[in-house]
C-alpha cells in the first residue's frame, strides 16, 4: 500500500481496550450469555472475537464459545476479483441451531461482508438470533445492514481506508484512517 498521506489515529490501544470493554457490557446487557457464540470474521474479526469472549467471560464467570468464519466463498464479487489461492479455514463449534450468535468484525462498511457471513452461518444451522458487533462503523452502506453493537462510529469517505491493527497481525492495537489512495495502490 502506498502511503500518500499520513494516517490519522482514530483509537489508540487504550481506546480500543475501552471500546471492547463497552462492547462486552453491551452484549451482556442485550441478552442471555449462556448460549452465546461469538463468531469472528477472518482475519481481524477473529482476534477481536477472542478478546470479547475473554471480556464477557470475566464479567459473567462463564466461558464463552467462539468460532471463525472465512467468507471468501460467499463473496458477491468472485466474477470481478477471481479466485485467491489461500482461503482461511472456517471453524464453527458444534450445532448452532437455537443459539445466540454474535458476528464480530473489525470494520462495517458496505455491509457486503456481513451479507456473506449471514449466508454462510445459515449453512451451519438456524440460530435463535444473530447480532452484529463491530469495532468501527465507517458508514457507506450498500446493503440494508446495521450493527447492534458499535465500538466507534466515524464517517469515512470512500477511497479512504480504516485500518484496524491487532497484535496477531500487526504487532499493535489501534485504529487509524488512511486518506484516499485514489486507486494508486489498487493492484
Amino acid at each position: 500500500m502506498i502511503a500518500d498521506k499520513q494516517p490519522r489515529d482514530l483509537l489508540d490501544a487504550a481506546g480500543v481496550e475501552q471500546a471492547l470493554g463497552r462492547l462486552a457490557d453491551d452484549i451482556i446487557a442485550a441478552g442471555a450469555t449462556d448460549d452465546l457464540l461469538l463468531v469472528g470474521i477472518r482475519r481481524r474479526g477473529v482476534e477481536l472475537a477472542e478478546r470479547l469472549a475473554e471480556l464477557v467471560a470475566e464479567r459473567t464467570g462463564d466461558p464463552v464459545d467462539r468460532g471463525s468464519l472465512d467468507i471468501t466463498l460467499y463473496r458477491d464479487d468472485f466474477a470481478q476479483i477471481g479466485s485467491r489461492p489461500l482461503i482461511g479455514t472456517t471453524k464453527i463449534p458444534g450445532d448452532i441451531t437455537g443459539r445466540r450468535v454474535v458476528i464480530v468484525d473489525d470494520v462495517l462498511y458496505t455491509g457486503r461482508t456481513i451479507r456473506a457471513a449471514l449466508n454462510e452461518i445459515a449453512d451451519f444451522g438456524r440460530p435463535a438470533r444473530i447480532e452484529l458487533c463491530v469495532l468501527v462503523d465507517r458508514g457507506g452502506r450498500e446493503l440494508p445492514i446495521q450493527a447492534d453493537f458499535v465500538g466507534i462510529g466515524s464517517d469515512v469517505p470512500p477511497g479512504s481506508h480504516v485500518e484496524v491493527r491487532v497484535p496477531s497481525e500487526d504487532d499493535e492495537l489501534g485504529v487509524r484512517i488512511r486518506a484516499g489512495a485514489e486507486q494508486a495502490g489498487a493492484g
Binding site: 485467491r84 489461500l86 462498511y109
Partner: protein, 333 residues
C-alpha cells in the same frame, strides 16, 4: 466498484497462478502445486458441514465428459462441483452421440453452444485433454488421458502423503506396478519431483518403461528392495486386460513376486504408508490385510480427492489466463 472494506488488492493476496486449464502436472512448479494443496485444506471442512455446499461456483455449468468408464473419479468430480454450487451434466461415451462417431471437437463445440463454463474430460487417447483445451474457451480439467496424465489423482495422493507424514519434500515414494501404461504414475512422478520428493518405480521389466531414469527416478526390480527404501508405496492397479496382452505370466505369479503383503511390509526398517488409487484387485497387487490395515491411507485418499478437485475447480474458475505462464509451460510436453 463494490469494494468492501476488505478489497481484492490488499487483503486477499495475489491471484491464483493457474491458467485456463489443468492438463497435467508436468512443468508445474513446486510453489504452484503447494498452492493447490494449500487451497484444498479449507475445502475439506466444507464436506463436514450440515449443508455441504458453498455458492462460489453458483451459475457455472460444468460438463463431465467421460469417454472411458470411471466410477470413483467421475463421482469425486461431481461431488466437488456440486459442493461448490455448480450445475453439472454427465456425458459418457455409451449412449451418447459420441458412440455415433461424433468427433471430440464437435462434441465439445456443441456443448459450448449450450453455454458451458468448464469441461472435465477423461479419454483413452494421450493428449486428448490438451487437444480439447486448445480448441474451446471453457476451462478444461484432465481426468485422465490415455497414458499421459491424471493430475488430480496425483494431487490427492500428495495431499494424503502430506497429511500423514507432515510434508512431501524429502520423502521417498515408490510407485509399484504397471508403470508403462499408467498416467497416475506419470503425474505422480512430475508432482512429487517438483515438491522435492525422491521417486522410485518398481514393477516387472515388461511394465517399466525403458529410460524412465531420465525423469529422475530410481528403478527397483524387486518389491522387497522398494519396501526397504521407501517411506511411501503408491501401489497401482494391475490392469487385468494387460495380462491378456502378455505383459505378465499370471495374476498369481504377479502377486507372488510384486504383491504388497503384510509379511513384506513387516520386514521394512520403518513404517511404510500405503496408497492405492483404486479400484483395487485384492490379492493381486495388494493384499487385503494391507489395504485394510493401519498403514493404508486409501480411504483418506478418496476423501481428499473431493477437496483437491474443489480446489482445482475453484482456482480455474476464477483464474486469470494472463497469469498462466506456469500452466502454459507445463502443457508443452
Amino acid at each position: 466498484m463494490t469494494a468492501d472494506q476488505t478489497t481484492a488488492s490488499d487483503e486477499a493476496g495475489p491471484a491464483a497462478p493457474l491458467g485456463k486449464d489443468l492438463v497435467g502436472l508436468e512443468g508445474l512448479s513446486g510453489d504452484t502445486i503447494r498452492m493447490i494443496l494449500d487451497t484444498a485444506e479449507p475445502f475439506k471442512e466444507i464436506s463436514e458441514r450440515p449443508i455441504k455446499k458453498v455458492p462460489v461456483l453458483r451459475g457455472k455449468t460444468i460438463v463431465n465428459l467421460f469417454f472411458e468408464p470411471s466410477t470413483r473419479t467421475r463421482i469425486s468430480f461431481e461431488f466437488a462441483e456440486k459442493r461448490l454450487g455448480a450445475d453439472t451434466v454427465n456425458i459418457s461415451s455409451v449412449g451418447s452421440s459420441v458412440s455415433k462417431g461424433e468427433s471430440l471437437v464437435d462434441t465439445a463445440r456443441n456443448l459450448e453452444a449450450m453455454r458451458i463454463d468448464m469441461v472435465v474430460i477423461r479419454h483413452g487417447s494421450s493428449g486428448a485433454a490438451r487437444f480439447l483445451a486448445d480448441r474451446i474457451p471453457s476451462n478444461v480439467i484432465n481426468a485422465g488421458d490415455g497414458r499421459h496424465e491424471h493430475p488430480t489423482q496425483a494431487l490427492l495422493d500428495m495431499l494424503t502423503m502430506r497429511d500423514r507424514l507432515g510434508k512431501v519434500e524429502g520423502l521417498r515414494v515408490c510407485i509399484v506396478g504397471d508403470i508403462v501404461h499408467s498416467r497416475v504414475a506419470r503425474s505422480n512422478i512430475f508432482g512429487l519431483r517438483a515438491l522435492g520428493a525422491e521417486v522410485g518405480v518398481c514393477g516387472p521389466r515388461s511394465l517399466v518403461p525403458v529410460g524412465i531414469e531420465d525423469l529422475g527416478v530410481s528403478v527397483f526390480g524387486h518389491v522387497e528392495e522398494a519396501i526397504e527404501w521407501a517411506d511411501v508405496l503408491n501401489v497401482l492397479r494391475l490392469q487385468l486386460e494387460r495380462m491378456n496382452a502378455g505383459f505378465i505370466p499370471s495374476l498369481r505369479e504377479y502377486n507372488r513376486v510384486f504383491g504388497v503383503t503384510r509379511a513384506r511390509l513387516e520386514r521394512a526398517p520403518r513404517e511404510v504408508v500405503v496408497l492405492h488409487p483404486g479400484p483395487m484387485n485384492r490379492g493381486v497387487e495388494i493384499d487385503s490385510d494391507v489395504a485394510d490395515g493401519p498403514q493404508s491411507v486409501i480411504l483418506p485418499q478418496v476423501t481428499n480427492g473431493v477437496a483437491v478437485r474443489m480446489a482445482v475447480l475453484y482456482l480455474l474458475a476464477g483464474g486469470r489466463p494472463e497469469l498462466a505462464e506456469d500452466a502454459k509451460r507445463g502443457s508443452g510436453g
